[in-house]
């Protein structure tokens, strides 16, 4: 293990390198480009024994990733925003084929108007795919999550999407503990798929299936999702044992006695923690629930964390127009059959990179009683 200062995207590239993928098909897009830039250098220099495929679009990147994974090798790709949207069709196929592709999405808004800054619209609109989704707060968490993602994806044969905030994480230089290759290898064994394209053992993949079969296969994806918590838990325990860093489906900060809880996914959890410290100094009992896993959605953990007499402000960085912020929807749904429901505020914290300062959150907490819990809430 070695401590160094890395950009968020460099930390991810280090994580990918430690995971030893064999194929990396990717297409550049801001703010993700650094990731694949570093990976292509690593492959060119021979530091990473993988084939980097420069494709002509994200659709091709996803298709090549599907092919590579179907051929039975560990496969990584990264994208952002419009790129993720362009991949959409093939992302469905990757799930259907049960391929453990790991993808990093640097969260960025989708136009129009033109905008390269961060929000979570791109990945939130992909939530129904059947890909696992994790949102990261720090460069360290991003690196660590890459290793966990391959481990879990390959165990359960479902693809895994790791989110970082564009710029806020991807472009920030901060300290990171880089695991050694030996440690990484101990955690993540080589990928040995049971079924892959093999001329010596011919079988067809994804051939036409009528309703009965199709229905059964889709049901199996959901069953795997529901059963994946055990594997995730096992992965976290295994990770902690080797790397001494603890991860969960969710993360909390000063939550137990909190009267006001902020729910966040992504890097703004950090800024929120600073706001909570400030509020606590002024005797406001604030706390944080950080959502790491958005898919599968850890209902039980969230209900346990938020139940009781709390006011919960859900920070969304995306929304389903005509409904509400996606994270708010999910939390509301989780509480449907619970007797004691918290008061939920559906708050759109930032879109398209609108800056969030500590005082914005502090002010919000101080004005909570004036907010309408029946409406989508917007900043001034």
């Amino acid at each position: 293990m070695q401590k160094d200062m890395l950009l968020g995207s460099e930390a991810i590239a280090e994580g990918v390198k430690l995971a030893r993928p064999k194929i990396i098909p990717a297409y550049p897009i801001t703010p993700q480009t650094h990731i694949i830039e570093v990976l292509s250098e690593m492959t060119a220099k021979g530091e990473l024994d993988a084939t980097f495929i420069r494709v002509e679009s994200e659709l091709s990147a996803a298709a090549a990733a599907m092919g590579a994974s179907q051929a039975g090798v560990r496969t990584f790709t990264a994208t952002s925003s419009h790129g993720l949207a362009l991949m959409h069709e093939v992302l469905h196929w990757i799930v259907g084929a049960r391929l453990p592709v790991v993808l990093v999405n640097a969260n960025r808004a989708i136009g129009s108007p033109w905008n390269i800054w961060t929000d979570q619209t791109d990945s939130m609109t992909q939530r129904d795919l059947g890909w696992l989704q994790v949102y990261c707060e720090t460069a360290q968490e991003a690196l660590d999550t890459i290793l966990q993602a391959f481990y879990i994806a390959e165990k359960i044969q479902l693809p895994f999407m790791v989110m970082i905030d564009g710029f806020i994480l991807s472009h920030t230089l901060e300290e990171v503990l880089i695991p050694s290759q030996d440690e990484a290898d101990e955690f993540l064994p080589p990928y040995k798929p049971e079924y892959f394209l093999d001329t010596n053992n011919p079988m067809s993949f994804g051939a036409a299936a009528k309703g009965d079969i199709f229905y059964m296969l889709r049901k199996s994806i959901e069953e795997t999702m529901e059963g994946s918590f055990d594997y995730i838990d096992e992965a976290h325990k295994r990770f902690e044992k080797i790397f001494k860093r603890k991860y969960g489906l969710i993360d909390t900060y000063l939550l137990d006695d909190a009267e006001i809880v902020f729910v966040v996914a992504g890097a703004l959890a950090g800024t929120t923690k600073v706001a909570i410290d400030t509020l606590r100094k002024n005797n406001v009992k604030a706390g944080l629930l950080k959502i790491r896993y958005f898919r599968p959605f850890p209902k039980k953990e969230i209900v346990d964390a938020l139940k009781g007499d709390k006011k919960v402000v859900v920070f969304n960085k995306a929304l389903s127009f005509g409904s509400s912020g996606q994270i708010t929807q999910e939390i509301k749904e989780a509480f449907y059959y619970e007797d004691k429901k918290p008061v939920l505020y559906d708050y759109i914290l930032s879109l398209g990179g609108k800056e969030v300062f500590v005082e914005n959150i502090v002010d919000l907490a101080n004005n909570l009683d004036n907010l309408d819990k029946f409406k989508i809430l917007w900043r001034e």
Partner: protein
């Protein structure tokens, strides 16, 4: 926590300066963070970069609104951009300029230090007369005046981000440190 804001022109090295400084804090044993104003880089356009340093891990991820220090890499920027915006009371502004500190007046209460860093850079053949590369000498001045980062760590951090003219850069860093 120490918060530093750099103002520069695209291509002038403000982002690299911020990285070197953050890395030097890291080498000093502090926790640090460096990031640019987020956006598409365009040569010549005013840009800002930010550094935070603290004794514990830095959680906050917003741009620096209330810096302790402001480093202005081109004097002219101080006349067109609101460089002292939000600066803490008695914060320090370091301006690369051939003009005296008295030439500048800001609304905020702050200390102004000017120095002709271009001259130092050119003396060490860093960049051209049109665009001198001043990120290391100006960090030397900052190190001296702020006493928040060690010159030794800056020397060690520099080659990681500026792999060319390493010796000249370090000479310029030290000379500026001594002159400040």
């Amino acid at each position: 926590m120490i918060e530093i804001r750099f103002h520069g022109r695209g291509g002038q090295g403000a982002v690299i300066a911020s990285k070197i400084l953050a890395y030097a804090y890291f080498l000093d044993g502090k926790s640090s963070q460096a990031f640019p104003t987020f956006g598409a880089e365009r040569r010549g356009a005013p840009v800002a970069a930010f550094v935070r340093a603290d004794d514990k891990f830095i959680n906050v991820r917003s741009p620096i609104a209330n810096p302790d220090y402001v480093i202005v890499m081109a004097g002219k920027l101080a006349e067109t951009v609101d460089v002292t915006s939000g600066i803490k009371e008695n914060g320090l502004v370091i301006i690369n300029s051939d003009k005296p500190a008295s030439y500048y007046s800001f609304e905020e209460k702050c200390t102004i230090k000017t120095m002709n860093v271009n001259e130092i850079a050119l003396k060490h053949k860093l960049g051209s007369a049109i665009m001198p590369i001043i990120n290391l000498p100006i960090l030397g001045i900052f190190a001296k005046l702020s006493s928040s980062v060690s010159i030794e760590s800056l020397k060690k951090a520099a080659p990681k981000f500026v792999p060319v003219k390493v010796e000249e850069n370090i000479d310029a860093l030290v000379e500026a440190y001594d002159l400040a």
